[in-house]
Amino acid sequence: MLELRQLKKSYKEPDGSELPILDVPRWSVDAGEQVVVIGPSGCGKTTLLHIIAGILKPTSGHVLIDGWDTPLLNESERDQFRARRIGYVFQTFNLLPGFSALENVMLGMAFAGKGSDKHRAVDLLKRVGLGHRLHHKPGQMSVGEQQRVSVARALANKPKLVLADEPTANVDVGNQQLVIDMLRNTCREEEVALIIVTHAPQVSEQFDRVDRLTDINLVAKRKVEEMEHHNAHAQEVK
């Protein structure tokens, strides 16, 4: 379903030199599979998700989703591809404050160009336990409820892949498991592949497949090795 090949991403430094962020020789996720990617802060987790979603373009390499090599698409085509085939759950929910829960879910449908399906939006909100909060705006909901709206929105366009970036990081402990359960269950019901990026062990330990970004991303691997080497050297000096 998803395959990354020879994927590289780097940013230009102010002095003109290249700052490498990602170097993924190969990584793949099957259709309907649920994968957790863990790793320390600053190892390129969000950048990886942005590249898979087509928000960012890689410096080089291939991102194959459902047979499409998305970096080859132009920006407008990538936007359309993202709207139709990829759902995104953000760490900070990113709901539009002026829109009700129902409208936030339907917003994603509006951009996919398939027309708004109100029944599906209501159904999704009911499935995440918010049937009674359809017309509430984000400011009138708890953080847990907001993240559940975000989950419903990610699934609105019947995507093939859902990307969740630290979905429980800003949710209270009581709601964290609820969010994970809903995300996993709805993705399973809809046969959607799920990639969750997190550094919370209580989340990762629930999944069969847990990939370390330091194993996937050679830049992160080198960084960790350098850090370990530096720490070992510091120990020797002591």
Binding site: H50, S76, D79, Q80, P97, F111
Partner: protein, 496 residues
Amino acid sequence: MNLWKIAYRSIQHRTLASSLTALSISLGVALVVTVLVINGVISKSFQQGAQGYDLILGPKGSELELVMSTVFYNRKPMSLIPYRYYDLLRTSRYSAEVDSAVPIARTDNFMDYPVIATNTDYFRKIVKSDGKPYTLRDGEFFKNTDTYGAVIGYTVAKQTGRKVGDQIQFGHSGPDGELHEPFTVVGVLDHTGSPNDRAVFVNLEGFYKQHEHQQSAFDVDYSLVEAEKQERLAANRHGEEADADHDHDADHDADHEHAEADHDHEGHDHDGHDHERRLSAVLIITKEKSVEIGATAADVDRAMEQAPGVEIEETQLVSKKQKRKVHDLAVTALPEKLSGELLDAQAVAPVSVITSFYQDVIGNIRYVLIIFAVQVIIVAGIGMMVSIYNSMSERRQEIAIMRALGAKRTTVMAIILFESILLSLGGGFLGLIIGHGLAAAISPWVMEYSNVLIRPWDFQLVELILIPGLVILASIVGYLPAVVAYRTDVAQSLQP
């Protein structure tokens, strides 16, 4: 959910800022609407003044002054014309062109309201701007035999409280310190929406009688001065010639009958009496010519070449348009004929004088006001641009979210433009309501002072231009914020 609704929700989310932005637009639009409504009032009041007659015969001089003095009564006449010109207009010399002539003597004011001395023809022959005859709210029109009869306008009655049976005095006191004999109100006019609402009409005969008794009691001397005796002699020659053709119709006879009956001045015969009198103007209603049915275009042209004065068989009429053409030509040619024959007088078509005055003076003021109002709208539009632009910094994340959900760059750009259009249209409609509401609020005041009835909720066609105008303005001012939205860096703006 379409893009318009998304834009509307964004506006709704920023209620206060959006309301203030729309309000600034609405004030500009309200100003434009108010200018248009006031312009309509001014235009209407000008147009309503000179309805019901085609020409004004008055003393030579400024055409505008003659029209202003005769139509709007806003100044006293600087000079006068002999009464015999009025008689002359009713002879066969002018029978081909002149249907009716009505004498006017604009004299002193009664409590700031102009007094117009005339005869019954004013109310019988002249129609109002709506083509209907003058009607009375109370009483009756004075008859020519009511020497001291007066009819007062709607506003005069309302403001002074004068009613039928009350007496009216105007002018100064005479040498003996006493005011002359008063006129008695016999009728009160219905509202006309013309300067006549603020006028007092008195019987010309009574006015002359007073005047001949107490010349010094009036600002304008309507009696013949010694210096004009020579001219009078020449005029008499003219008059004799005219008298030979004089077609004393029943109406004319009636007019003179009373004059003889009432006239008690020693040594004044009928003819001499009229010739000693003077008028400020004569209102002329021209005849409508007609040509035979089946007339070819050449016939009509020939008839028009011969007009005025052309006699055409009135069997059946050709098209109204052709009739109108012949009629218009007669009206166009009559002033020349009159000016050629009456050396110290001129005949002017009030409508054309008023129209050109309106276009030259009032029209320019209107354009200045509209330009000013449009500038206000543009400034408000720039304010709207600043407001939306400033909101963009806090909306970068919203835009990034939309982009992350699959919105194209052009889509978010369109949403911002739609937002700008909705704000300006909302402000525009609010402005229309405020503008017309303002017109409704001032309409009683305008009615009081200009006698023009404002229909504040009557929309003018030109107001429709405001809608596409506002859409264009909104598209221009919304462009810069829309470009900001277009260029938003999604990944960076999504950073928590």
